[in-house]
């Protein structure tokens, strides 16, 4: 104001300068000394004014004071979400062992449920067998066994490999010789099995590791035999070892009717402490149907060749037809064997049971050490990063829209104030 310090106009303007009332000035001084306390809310003050004051207070807070607690809250929310996701993932939903991929495993779960019943092993074969009017092969096998006077007690073996007289070998032979139910299907019903999407041929397998003390191996092995026999299963191979902890143990390879697998595993799990348990499924419907259809075609060709043989006029024709007939019969036998193997795979689940003594080995998957801890930590960090990323993907656009809206509001307010001045 030095330029206008001696200007008459400036002096005249200074005379026009409004001055505050002394009472107002004193009141304002008092409020300033007290730090501008909020005025007391009169009784029944409208909520709008309180909200407006609250908004004004929040707007006066420095951003960094809001960012720190907001950031902490966001981190806490991310941790909670990560723990929740981890808890969901840790539920027992083990992936199938082996198998031929999801395409073949397909609807194995929905296919399993309808087949789970006390006679489930027969049901798989029943799908084809009953269509052809033949009895289920599993029942036929046991009937044959009983007729020969062999019972489940003869299944208690120790260190024996399956020989010609073992139940396993007999079952293989029985399966090879028994007419394949699919071969007797009438052509018109061939598509019936494939069309039954609920009835699938599912190959099931399981691995069970039990733990006991060295003195209990023999008793546990006996209980395993009892459990297998109770479920009409077959012990393909077994071996036991005696010794100190870590040396003593037993191993069993079992065939359990597929429909009784659940009960069998439950019974086996009660034999001793379960260290690990794994199950797997594989859908073998497609190859089963394919082989069955090929066997039907082969039989039809055999019938045709037999008719040709009956009509052969010359020796040369007869030899040619017989040669072709021999080849076709060999092919039919091969297909029959393949189909029997496929049916056996569907009808019986392969189960391996291992009885261990001593401390669990990390390779068996039962231990938890530094490696597992690192793996768990890595998974937690991965999940947390995923949750944070998803949170950013959701909150980012919202925050951007909010920021644009705030900037637009500030610009509009600035222009509105400028317009007020004309």
């Amino acid at each position: 104001m030095e330029r206008y310090s001696h200007d008459p106009l400036a002096e005249a303007l200074r005379e026009l300068r409004p001055t505050p009332r002394p009472e107002f000035a004193a009141e304002l001084d008092r409020r300033a000394a007290a730090g501008f306390p909020p005025p007391e809310e009169p009784h029944g003050a409208p909520a709008r004014s309180r909200i407006r004051r609250l908004v004004a207070r929040l707007a006066a807070v420095p951003p960094r004071r809001v960012a720190l607690p907001a950031g902490g809250l966001a981190v806490a929310a991310a941790v909670v979400a990560a723990v929740a996701v981890m808890s969901y993932e840790s539920e027992p939903q083990q992936p199938p062992l082996g198998g031929r991929g999801d395409a073949e495993a397909g609807i194995h779960e929905s296919a399993l449920r309808p087949n789970v019943n006390p006679d489930g092993a027969a049901q798989s074969a029943d799908r084809i067998a009953q269509a052809a009017g033949t009895p289920p092969k599993v029942e036929e096998f046991w009937e044959a066994q009983r007729a020969e006077g062999r019972s489940g007690d003869h299944l208690r073996a120790s260190g024996e490999s399956p020989g010609a007289g073992s139940p396993d070998a007999k079952f293989h032979a029985f399966s090879e010789k028994a007419p394949s139910a699919s071969a007797t299907l009438a052509p018109a019903s061939r598509g019936g099995v494939a069309a039954q999407t609920r009835n699938r041929d599912i190959e099931r397998s399981a691995e069970l590791t039990l733990a006991t003390d060295p003195a209990g191996v023999g008793d546990a092995a006996s209980q395993v035999f009892d459990a297998v026999h109770a479920q009409r299963g077959i012990v393909l191979r077994s071996s036991t070892r005696e010794g100190e902890a870590g040396e003593a143990g037993a191993y069993f390879e079992l065939l359990i009717p597929s429909g009784r697998l659940g009960d069998a595993l439950a019974a086996l799990s009660e034999v001793a402490e379960v260290r690990s348990r794994r199950e797997a499924t594989a859908d073998i419907t497609a190859p089963t149907i394919t082989v069955g259809e090929r066997l039907q075609d082969s039989r039809a060709r055999i019938d045709g060749l037999l008719a040709q043989l009956a009509d052969a006029d010359t020796e040369a024709e007869r030899e040619a037809v017989e040669r072709e007939l021999r080849g076709e019969r060999r092919r039919a036998a091969f297909l029959r064997s393949r189909l029997a193997r496929l049916n056996r795979r569907a009808n019986f689940a392969r189960v391996s049971v291992r009885i261990e003594t001593g401390a669990p080995s990390s390779s068996a998957g039962g231990g938890w050490g530094v490696g597992e801890a690192l793996g768990d930590a890595g998974r937690i960090l991965t999940v947390a990063a995923g949750v944070a990323l998803i949170g950013l993907a959701i909150l980012g656009p919202i925050a951007l829209i909010a920021l644009l809206a705030w900037l637009a509001h500030r610009a509009w307010l600035r222009r509105a104030r400028q317009r007020t001045l004309g």
Partner: protein, 176 residues
């Protein structure tokens, strides 16, 4: 020693002291500026109090590297006054209340005539020009502070102020 420590502990922080100094130096200036914008003493008192309260709440957000404290304070007062005008749906006015002028009638007639002429000339200016006059002569801000408050460059503020003063002087020609 312990008394000195106690006194230091009881002393208000530096930010509080700085705001107190700013308040005492600017109280009347802010009122004069706001009153000149609103043309209403009662509303000017409310807006002045609201402006200082708002500045007090935001005192920790003031960055000295971005400008002078007085410019920052008058920016808050300006926004509060303009918001009040917007709320009332009126444009900025600059006029002396009749009571002020009536109180001056006891002075010399020449002085009263001069004040009336200046007030009339001031009322004839555009609102933006009147605001510049108020910031310069009522609030006592420098050109740099005026530029910071109004959001223009310092040279631009000086040029516009010079034009407003020239127009005012021409309108008051003969009365001064």
């Amino acid at each position: 020693m312990s008394e000195a420590l106690l006194a230091a502990a009881e002393a208000p922080p530096a930010a509080e002291l700085a705001f107190d100094r700013l308040y005492r130096a600017s109280r009347d200036d802010v009122f004069a500026y706001v009153a000149s914008l609103l043309g209403d003493r009662a509303a000017a008192e409310e807006v002045t109090a609201a402006a200082f309260e708002r500045a007090y709440r935001k005192r920790s957000r003031f960055d000295p590297r971005r400008g002078e404290p007085r410019a920052w304070l008058f920016g808050i007062a300006r926004n509060a006054a303009l918001d009040e005008l917007r709320r009332r749906g009126r444009q900025a006015e600059l006029s002396a209340e009749p009571a002020d002028l009536a109180a001056e009638l006891e002075e010399s007639a020449e002085r009263s005539e001069r004040r009336l002429a200046v007030a009339t000339a001031l009322a004839a200016l555009a609102p933006r020009e009147r605001e510049l006059i108020a910031l310069k002569f009522f609030a006592g801000l420098s050109n740099a502070e005026i530029a910071a408050v109004t959001g223009v460059s310092e040279s631009n503020a000086g040029t516009k102020l010079h034009r407003a003063v020239t127009k005012l002087r021409e309108a008051c020609d003969g009365a001064l």
